[in-house]
């Protein structure tokens, strides 16, 4: 069932029901006060109406509920109490109050939940919310105090811990891990120093090989804005990798600038190529 149709039904249905009930109860009460209807008959019709409306609310509520017995009982008790204290209007009131829950249940049941979760904005908002809760100390991660930062491990860990940390750094390298890597280069243990140097050299080689390949490609096609943009981006990535000394990073930045300037002056601009901001 499409979401918007089901939502439209959910808002139109109770209003019609309330108006219908108001009319029916007014007529019934008028007949009772003009003694055209006996008291016992008036009460029977009135209570039957309450039971019927409560049933209308309860049965679909059960169908859309999570299947939990407590949920079903809660729906039943809520509608019954409203009907007892406020007659058919109370039953309708109870129905309206539980309707949003039924809608959510139906929503999940029909598989709309995954679509919502795939929405990155929504996820970001939830993450932001979680982060806020953590900062407010309203949310705690179990055993979080046992976690050690990689920098702590390379400072204080055993030889095996340090080697394992460097292995992780190698496989999931980000510029923020460079301080841990550089600290490991000064470790007392030779094998730790060697692995740290190997990881560092591996990262350098990855960048230089990529740059070499992109440079060759760009040289082969001087008019390809796309190739020169990629080359510029590669220089930029290397400059921002945290691996380079300041002077070398500046050289890479200049190379990136030169590549982007080439893109701007190229005779055959590729519309898909845009200078990164």
């Amino acid at each position: 069932m499409p979401d918007e149709i089901r939502t439209g039904t959910s808002s139109a249905y109770p209003i019609g029901l309330v108006l219908g009930l108001l009319f029916f109860e007014s007529v019934l009460f008028l007949l009772f006060t003009t003694t055209r209807l006996d008291a016992w008959l008036y009460l029977t019709i009135h209570l039957s109406l309450c039971a019927m409306i409560a049933g209308i609310g309860f049965l679909p509520g059960r169908r859309f509920s999570s299947g939990n017995l407590h949920d079903k009982a809660a729906i039943g008790i809520q509608i019954s109490l409203w009907a007892v204290f406020a007659g058919p209007f109370g039953a309708v009131m109870g129905l309206i109050l539980i309707w949003p829950q039924r809608s959510d249940a139906a929503h999940d049941h029909l598989g709309f939940k995954d679509e919502d979760e795939s929405d990155s904005d929504s996820n970001l908002a939830r993450l932001d919310n979680l982060h806020g809760l953590m900062l407010d100390r309203r949310l705690r991660i179990q055993n979080a105090h046992c976690s050690r930062s990689l920098l702590d491990v390379v400072f204080e860990g055993t030889r095996n811990d340090k080697l394992e940390a460097l292995s992780l750094i190698s496989k999931r390298f980000t510029p923020s891990l460079v301080p841990a890597l550089r600290r490991s280069l000064e470790d007392r243990d030779g094998s730790v120093r060697v692995l740290a140097a190997t990881v560092l050299a591996q990262q350098h080689n990855m960048h230089t090989k990529r740059l070499g390949a992109l440079q060759a490609k760009a040289n082969a096609a001087p008019a390809s804005a796309d190739d020169w943009t990629r080359l510029g981006q590669a220089h930029l990535d290397y400059a921002q990798s945290g691996l380079l000394e300041t002077s070398r990073a500046n050289v890479e930045l200049n190379q990136a600038r030169a590549a982007f300037e080439h893109v701007e002056h190229t005779a055959d601009p590729d519309p898909s190529a845009r200078r990164p901001t």
């Binding site: 050690r148 990689l150 491990v153 860990g157 055993t158 095996n160 811990d161 080697l163 394992e164 940390a165 460097l166 292995s167 992780l168 190698s170 496989k171 280069l185 000064e186 030779g190 094998s191 120093r193 060697v194 692995l195 740290a196 140097a197 190997t198 990881v199 560092l200 050299a201 591996q202 350098h204 080689n205 230089t208 090989k209 740059l211 070499g212 440079q215 000394e245 002077s247 070398r248 050289v251 190379q255």
Partner: protein
């Protein structure tokens, strides 16, 4: 496997090197063989099927045989029957123990079982019983990992063990593995079968090198099932754990069955000890070079710019990139500096190309020269002012020793025994520094160290003198050759060893270790006692152990 060899004195066992691959250990082996023309050598070269077996060395005349052991090719063996299921399960259990927690006994049991049953690939890898047993190992070792990855890893490791325990052994007096790992396993296998003495020499520590490879490798798939916690003994196993455990246990087996464990410098022994090597087997025998040859290299007096020399393959482990960046920084301090790179580039052409591109990018095309291989390195040593070595990993680099013998000061990274060579060590008869040791991957300090030496003539001369003296005293090829010859002789013929434990100083009066004495006593007790275990093996009928 190829080649039926005549009898030899020493069987050198090497993994992935001599005579097919050029490198430090391969050059060391070549030099060792040539330095002892009176000894006959046999080579066991371990490789994999896809590795090209084209000789990069001309084998010296005293090499009497070459046997190839191909790790990914083992005998098919006899076909298993339904009655063999229990035996196959036992064999797989033994393989698992050798790969994960052995101290030698399981390896010996595996050798015996394979020889008794005639099992090979057919029974132990391809049969239904082998699959069932492998599944059991999988559930124990990598329960959360992908079966397909475990299967291929297991298959390679198990097949390599079978290839080793069915390898053909030459008739030789002493087995000498030049590393642990697979070479060490072959040595251990030879020791168990022939009961001949077995020496293992480690230049670099095998388990450290494999650990580094595994840490940065991309070929080994890790699904992240092990999580990211460090130092957690309860974390789920990773595939890399299986490989690392195997390599560590290969070393343990090698150490357990070796009679003597040698290395070039003391720091290596800490790692060997940590991997379970018994202290009483330790010896230190450094590398040796032809000191006289290099001491006679004439220093060029022609006018020339200050020259920095780097000798080594253009490969990532030598960190040529750091050297090039260091030269660019050095140029700011010594503007007319010249840098010469000597070494082959074909091993990693992409890296070499990247280095050349870096030189161009840094505007050093006029400063840095790539010479590739040169016929006579000594010629360039005579025209240089300092040698640089920016390697990430080394043991005891021959190039550094050779340059030092000519009186060149050095700037090296703090790897292997470079610090010992440059700064000396406790008990070193030569006092003083012959250069400067710097951190790896640090172009700035490398450049500063090079500038310090290049800009100070007196300091350079003094450092050159210290280096020449130290190398002459400690790393003289004649002395080192004697150490090895005496070691072989002491193991085989009860000759006293000159190898010294804990110091580089020779000590002719030192008695052999208890293990060596035990071996010698057995020889004294009579030829028959030594030969008894060999009788089942007809090819050992020409044994010379008691000669």
């Amino acid at each position: 496997m190829t080649g039926a060899a005549p009898q030899s004195d020493v069987c050198l066992i090497v993994e992935g090197g001599y005579p097919y691959i050029v490198g430090g250990v391969a050059s060391w082996m070549d030099a060792l063989i040539r330095a002892s023309p009176g000894l006959k050598f046999h080579i066991i070269a371990i490789s994999i099927g896809s590795q090209p077996r084209v000789k990069k060395f001309v084998l010296p005349e005293n090499v009497v045989g070459l046997t190839d052991v191909i790790l990914d090719s083992c005998p098919i063996g006899r076909t298993a029957s339904a009655r063999d299921a229990h035996t196959i399960s036992q064999a797989v259990q033994l393989i698992q123990t050798v790969l994960s927690g052995d101290v030698g006994t399981s390896f010996e049991k595996l050798i015996d079982l394979v020889r008794q049953t005639g099992f090979g690939q057919s029974a132990l890898l391809d049969s239904r019983a082998a699959w069932t047993a492998m599944e059991r190992v999988y559930k124990e070792v990598l329960p959360d990992g992908p079966l397909i990855d475990f299967f291929w890893s297991w298959r390679f490791l198990a097949r390599s063990l079978l290839a080793i325990v069915s390898a053909q052994l030459p008739d030789t007096r002493v087995f000498h593995a030049v590393s642990t790992g697979y070479a060490g396993l072959v040595g251990a296998y030879a020791k168990h079968i022939t009961k001949r003495p077995y020496v293992v020499t480690e230049h670099g520590i095998y388990t450290n090198e494999r650990r580094i490879e595994l840490s940065v490798s991309e070929w080994i798939y890790d699904a992240g099932t092990g999580g990211f916690s460090i130092g957690d003994s309860n974390r789920p196993a990773r595939l890399s754990d299986l490989w690392l455990a195997a390599f560590i246990n290969f070393s343990r087996v090698s150490y357990a069955l070796a009679d003597v464990i040698t290395t070039q410098y003391g720091a290596n022994q800490d790692y060997q000890r940590a991997d379970g090597a018994p202290e009483d087997k330790f010896r230190i025998i450094p590398n040796g070079i032809d000191v006289d040859l290099y001491a006679n290299v004439r220093r060029s007096t022609d006018p020339r710019p200050p020259t920095v020399l780097m000798i080594g393959r253009i490969v990532p482990i030598k960190d040529t990139r750091t050297f090039i960046v260091a030269v660019s920084l050095l140029k700011e301090l010594v503007p007319n500096v010249s840098a010469i790179l000597i070494g082959p580039e074909e091993e990693d052409p992409a890296y070499a190309e990247g280095c050349r591109a870096l030189v161009a990018q840094l505007g050093l095309s006029e400063t840095v020269q790539f010479l590739g291989r040169v016929p006579d390195v000594a010629e360039y040593l005579g025209r240089a002012d300092v040698i640089a070595l920016t390697s990430i990993s080394e043991a005891q680099p021959i190039a550094l020793l050779e340059a030092s013998a000519t009186g060149l000061p050095a700037v090296t990274t703090d790897v292997g025994s470079c610090r010992d060579i440059i700064e000396g060590f406790a008990g070193d008869p030569v006092v003083g520094h012959g250069g400067i040791v710097v951190d790896a991957c640090n172009p700035k300090t490398t450049a500063q160290a090079l500038a310090t030496i290049l800009l100070d003539d007196e300091l350079r001369a003094e450092m050159g003198r210290v280096m020449r003296e130290r190398v002459t005293h400690l790393y003289n090829k004649e002395r080192i050759t004697k150490l090895y010859e005496n070691l072989y002789a002491s193991l085989a013929d009860n000759t006293q060893t000159e190898a010294v434990q804990g110091t580089y100083q020779p000590d002719p009066g030192k008695t052999p270790s208890s293990k060596v004495r035990g071996f010698a006593d057995r020889i004294r007790a009579g030829r028959s006692a030594v030969l008894a275990p060999l009788r089942p093996f007809a090819r050992f009928r020409g044994d010379r152990a008691g000669a």
